[in-house]
């Protein structure tokens, strides 16, 4: 299973939990599996063209991912930038 670190902005989808598990070999598969248990989360992170949204970053095994095709070994960390005021 992949460890997924969830930022405070998205913990309303995980009952306040900061770390959850999901299955998948790519970032896209992990987010799709996450969506089956945490409905509504994916659209906040990924747009309808499968792009990672502005101000959101996904780190896969410690490296910033630019595509849902990025292969995952152990960990996905979602970051919501502290932009705006």
């Amino acid at each position: 299973m992949i460890r997924v670190l969830v930022p405070t902005h998205l913990r309303s989808y995980t009952d306040g939990v900061a770390e959850v598990e999901a299955a998948g070999a790519t970032l896209g598969e992990v987010l799709a599996d996450l969506e089956t248990r945490h409905r509504g989360l994916r659209v906040r992170v990924i747009d309808e063209q499968d792009r990672i949204r502005p101000h959101v970053k996904c780190f896969v095994d410690g490296v910033q991912a630019w595509s849902l095709d990025q292969a995952v070994a152990a960990e996905v960390q979602i970051l919501a930038a502290l932009s705006g005021g």
């Binding site: 659209v43 906040r44 063209q49 930038a81």
Partner: protein, 377 residues
């Protein structure tokens, strides 16, 4: 006893104000705390279904639905979205505008988005589909000045209007892009901007008018005389009577010159088509978009725009530099009509006598994005 419910959507969440006498109000909020809430609309057809268009600065949009007056909210899981893989690669940044459909189509809703797009739901907002007749119209990219050249917070689709006589007859406004009409439920669209100034664009060599490209800020139609439209545009204040021709009349010419006829919001009386209210703002020099001179006032016409009366009793007399955005001037159906204003300074003002006197309902909310009135069932 009838309850009047205001939904006050702000840059940091949503508040409800409820009253049975329009003088004493209870406050319920915040809902969606920390989210930018662009528009919140209660379905007048059932008095229960309410949609709220939200987003945050960091995440994608979330369209929320309640059927119990905000006690519980559910996120729509098939929200307005452009088709995956479409050639222009558009993605909905946020839903900006929500309109319940015609009375004969109980589950139908329309949503206007940024970037500019129109979407339709037929199941009370649970699932949404693009109105491709608009979104994929071969001229749509030209109407909106191209996908890369939009207003600072993104181009807006707004003023989605449904003719109460005909469910297939729709209007919508684009900021920027102009005002458009469809008579076939959105399959085809035509611009409707004749007579409206476009001061920001170069003059056409033949001296003619641009058919589109305008910047309507807010357009309303009169519910009992739907051929009458009122338009607060970036370039003035207009009225159009469809039964008398296709050309808008600049009724803002009758406004005091030192105030001008620029603003965001406009509202019309629910029963009297000759009555409308506007909130002028400073559209000079660098367009500060504040109340002119720091002296906020509503202006009202009782004679279809031939003359306008200043209404400022109860509002600050000076040094009040806020404005009222396009979704922030609302009227109820009472007699007399009550008028509600939400300001960029986080205040909510009410007048229960059609604008003669204003009292403050809230002083310190966040920047107000929309104020809508409903009657909960």
């Amino acid at each position: 006893m009838t309850t009047t419910q205001l939904a006050v959507a702000t840059r940091k969440g949503l508040w409800f104000f409820r009253s049975t006498d329009r003088r004493t109000w209870s406050v319920d909020g915040p809902h969606h705390f920390g989210a930018m809430v662009h528009h919140v609309v209660l379905d007048p057809r059932d008095g229960r279904t309410m949609l709220a268009a939200t987003r945050t600065g960091h995440l994608g949009p979330a369209l929320m639905r309640t059927v119990d007056h905000g006690k519980t909210w559910t996120q729509i899981t098939t929200p307005p979205a452009f088709p995956k893989g479409e050639p222009r690669g558009r993605a909905v940044d946020h839903v900006f505008w929500l309109t319940p459909g015609h009375a004969s189509e109980p589950g139908v809703w329309y949503a206007g988005t940024s970037p500019q797009g129109l979407f339709r739901s037929e199941d009370g907002g649970d699932t949404w589909a693009p109105v491709s007749g608009f979104n994929d119209h071969p001229d749509q990219q030209t109407w909106v000045h191209g996908d890369q050249d939009q207003t600072p917070d993104g181009g807006k689709t707004h003023s989605v209007l449904v003719d109460p006589r005909d469910a297939a007859h729709l209007y919508l406004g684009l900021s920027g892009g102009g005002f458009f009409e469809s008579t076939d439920t959105g399959a085809t669209w035509s611009p409707l901007n004749s007579g409206v100034a476009m001061d920001f664009a170069p003059k056409l060599p033949d001296g003619g008018e641009y058919p589109f490209g305008h910047d309507p800020h807010c357009v309303v139609l009169h519910p009992q005389r739907p051929d009458r439209l009122w338009r607060q545009d970036h370039c003035g204040l207009y009225r159009l009577d469809r039964d008398q021709g296709p050309r808008w009349t600049r009724v803002g010419e009758a406004m005091p010159k030192e105030v001008g006829d620029i603003g965001f919001a406009i509202a019309t009386h629910p029963r009297d088509p000759d009555t409308a209210w506007v909130f002028p703002m400073d559209g000079t020099s660098v367009w500060p978009r504040t109340s002119p001179g720091g002296k906020p006032a509503v202006y009202r016409t009782r004679d279809a725009g031939a003359s306008w009366q200043r209404l400022d009793r109860g509002l600050p007399a000076a040094q009040a530099w806020w404005t009222v955005k396009r979704q922030c001037l609302a009227v109820d159906a009472g007699d007399p009509v009550a008028l509600y204003l939400g300001t960029t300074g986080g205040q909510v003002w009410a007048s229960v006598d059609e604008g003669e006197h204003f009292t403050q309902l809230a002083a310190d909310l966040p920047h107000v994005y929309s104020v809508t009135v409903g009657t909960p069932a």
